[in-house]
Symmetry: C2
Subunit: 392 residues, 2 copies
């Protein structure tokens, strides 16, 4: 019972930031003395601290309620996001703040053990001090593929060419070698983690129906509907990138043709504009090329924007989301430039009842959503049992 209450209290301040004892008492439905005891336990473990709210000092009548704040460096996790040609890493603290970050390019067709080695390099670079390494309570990895979560196995990542790869195990091995200590490694689908992060601390807080899109060389989708993450019968639901938008369209990695992903990701933009679609900085190159203008730029922009609108309209008709979030990846970089090409088409293509109600915008956590989602995944065990897993 106490463990459960500690979990609820720490999760509340992790999610919502500093809260007064009075707010916690109200939110948790517990007595003041119980909340006092719980806060004491967490403070003793070093996970939170308590103090007078600075702004309120001297104001108002009576003693102001003490404020409970998560200590962001007391427990940290390593978050990794593999976006095909880039491996991004962050150290994220309790409370969700990104404390350190780093990025490294991934060679084309790198196998999982190579990526795991790069993850080890990044981790060693981002957390050089033994004292900081001791505060890591886990690692989370976001990958553009289907994941068997319990096992940390990537079932299929078409844009990486990976099938049935034990990514969790490989990353754990490299981290242990480079950091000098074992860490639990959790693996998740990038878009699923993106939507998790946006619902928890991004643009979809308090929203029960969200579609989150991400990816540069693919188009991943994470869907929350009626407050529940859409998983489907085998965990493959939400693969909106494989809605067929054009029967005569481009071949897709998945073996089909004209998938939303094939018609709108890096390759669809890059080929007609003489940009290398595999270039790690393809987004910048495309933006530059679009900025230069010309017939090819105009036509490509028109064609790809319409394809994007077609897929978006199908997604909106099937899922009726409150908001569609354009998250980490190519479309986030392009969105400010093409938004006005895309949205009028979406308005024409969705059901009449939905016209005027389609809300598509940039993810609140920007390019960090997937990383923050990976961090949330890695922090879950600590939040579940704070005293057992708090760093000594």
């Amino acid at each position: 019972m106490r463990r459960h209450n500690l979990s609820v209290l720490l999760s509340a301040v992790h999610r919502d930031g500093p809260l007064t004892r009075a707010q916690l008492t109200g939110a948790l439905g517990l007595s003041r003395s119980t909340v006092g005891d719980l806060v004491g336990g967490l403070a003793e473990a070093g996970l939170v601290h308590e103090g007078r709210p600075r702004a309120a000092a001297g104001r108002g009548v009576g003693r102001p309620s003490l404020v409970v704040t998560p200590r962001e460096r007391s427990a940290t996790v390593l978050a990794l996001y593999l976006d095909v040609h880039w491996l991004r890493a962050a150290v994220v603290g309790l409370g969700g703040a990104v404390l350190e970050r780093g990025t490294v390019q991934v060679p084309s067709e790198a196998p999982p053990d190579r990526v795991a080695a790069l993850a080890g390099d990044l981790a060693a670079r981002l957390v050089p001090e033994a004292a900081d390494r001791a505060r890591l309570v886990g690692a989370g990895v976001a990958v553009p593929g289907t994941v068997r979560a319990g096992a940390g196995v990537v079932g299929l990542a078409p844009n990486l060419g990976w099938v049935e790869q034990p990514v969790g195990e490989q990353v754990a091995g490299e981290l242990e070698a480079r950091l000098g200590r074992g860490l639990a490694v959790a693996v998740g689908n990038d878009a699923d983690l993106g939507v998790l992060a946006e619902c928890r601390r991004g643009a979809a807080r308090d929203t029960a129906d969200v579609v989150y899109l991400c990816g540069t060389w693919g188009l991943g989708g994470g869907v929350v509907s009626g407050g529940h993450r859409l998983t489907g019968s085998r965990g493959f639901a939400g693969e909106v990138g494989h809605i067929g938008v054009d029967p005569e369209g481009r071949p897709c990695h998945c073996g089909s043709r004209g998938c939303w992903e094939a018609e709108t990701s890096a390759a669809a933009w890059a080929a007609p504009l003489d940009v290398d679609p595999e270039a790690p900085d393809v987004a910048e190159r495309l933006l530059e090329r679009l900025d230069r203008g010309g017939v090819a730029a105009r036509r490509t922009r028109e064609r790809v924007s319409r394809s994007f609108a077609r897929g978006l309209a199908s997604v909106v008709n099937v899922l009726d989301p409150h908001v569609v979030l354009v998250g980490a990846g190519l479309w986030r970089d392009l969105w400010p430039v093409v938004e006005d090409d895309v949205l009028p088409w979406v308005e024409r293509l969705v059901l009449p009842a939905l016209r005027g109600h389609v809300d598509v915008r940039l993810a609140g956590l920007g390019a960090d959503s997937t990383l923050v989602g990976a961090a949330e995944l890695a922090l879950a065990p600590l939040l579940d049992d704070p005293l057992a897993l708090a760093p000594a």
Copy 2:
């Protein structure tokens, strides 16, 4: 508390059929004496009867447990399904059995009050006796359109040309006039009611991820994902008929082009085969025409089957259902003839991980799913508070 337990017990026998007192005791987690009291209350109200199981008589050791059976004629509902050119009606009893049925053709572009009058005619014909009318506890109406459930208002039914029509009120008025008594009338979307019926007593029992398709002149979808009905933020989710499958395709009622519905419903089949797409018996005419064969029949079949496969593959990729059920309407009639044209294409178009796992079949309740779903909707208040609403 007793009301809740009565509700759970009656719902159990309504859904699962005859159950022994021992089974009920186990399933409800209540004591034998409490179950005895509840069964007594429901039996006194005439809703169930108790008796020795016939097959078990004389077998086994000791006294066999008494069997509780819903009395199907003790409380009945009127179920209506409007499939554009047809109004189908049934009297459904407690336990879900269809006791009477009738069908009437609906003139093209009939306004809601005309359809309500036809519903009144059918009701008066199906339930001529005053004693039977007294046992009706409500009516349910399935319509191919979006419904604001609480108000019984059809927001938009594109294939009927209806916008913001108070269908529940109009049907209630006609039933009162023709049956001589007021009845609560509940209205629901046809596909949502179809999937409800299939989950409760059809081909999707114990299945948490189901897509149900229905319609002749349109293609409605009802989706259950992770055990929850997909509603979306405004109640429009599940409109799989408006996934775009061909940017160069046929204009759709919704204002878009190449929607799955436009490419695969009656009009898409009928026009190239010289069949009147508005004919109420369009399915039979099409079957006859396909049976006669020839180039146009072969080409149309190939083209429409591929379009159907395209939409189906998108649905499977986005929702990863355990099963797709082909329910009331045109595709149910055509499915045995075109299944072998459709399924190989679906296998080619879905994600590799889903190949070999796509299960598409006829709805378990056949053409009755939507009617049975409408009946379930109408029976809900009785199941919620059996003693208050049992017919005297």
